[in-house]
Amino acid sequence: MDNWQYLVVLAACLAITAPLELFGTGVYRQAWRAASAVLPVAAVFVVWDVIAIGGHIWSYNPQYVTGLELPGDMPIEELLFFVVIPLCGLLTYNAVDAILVRLRRKRKQKAPST
């Protein structure tokens, strides 16, 4: 079971942030926009990651990963990390944005019309 730990952490991140999709125009509902924000950045960070793994700057504990690896000795979990964490960030940003817009609208309605 320990081998699933990194994957479970990522799945928990997705599960906790999933309800944020209900705010505003959402993130998953704008899949193309989300992909064009997440994937170019992920590509750069994957290159950085592969170089760091190759240079023994960091490594992954074989006890806590599934062992599925991409070329460059990169665990599949690490690739998912570069998609999952940015999605969590986008969901947070989108939800905060929707809440602020709602608050501003309310304040406007309350203010006496001049």
């Binding site: 952490v9 926009r33 989300a34 064009s36 924000a37 950045v41 700057i57 006890q63 940003y93």
Partner: protein, 110 residues
């Protein structure tokens, strides 16, 4: 050489993201309250998640200390991780904002 393997690229990543915003995209993201509020929330979640990944008692990610500053805070998180995370999330938000501004412009000039 010490600290060059992780510390240096982490600092470069932060600078590169600043250049991306101020010289290329100019989305105005850093002037939006929504950005700073979101980043505080992201940071609040990074600490438990990253803390779990890097805890020295049972680490999922293992760092070669010769390539980091050696400063681990809070818990056992190498401080470089916060630069790494900030650069990654901010870069994604910049590209997301660019799309929003594009759509706005398209709506203004039919």
């Amino acid at each position: 050489m010490t600290a060059l393997g992780y510390t240096l690229p982490a600092v470069v990543a932060v600078l590169a993201v600043c250049v991306l915003e101020f010289a290329v995209l100019r989305t105005g993201l850093f002037r939006r309250a929504v950005y700073w509020i979101s980043m505080v929330i992201v940071l609040g979640f990074q600490i438990p998640v990253d803390g779990w990944l890097t805890k020295l008692s049972a680490p999922i990610v293992i760092y070669d200390d010769r390539h980091t500053s050696g400063v681990r805070f809070p818990f056992d998180i190498p401080v470089e991780d916060f630069l790494f995370g900030w650069a990654m999330v901010t870069a994604v938000l910049l590209l997301w904002e660019r799309q929003r501004l594009r759509d706005q412009r398209r709506n203004e000039t039919p």
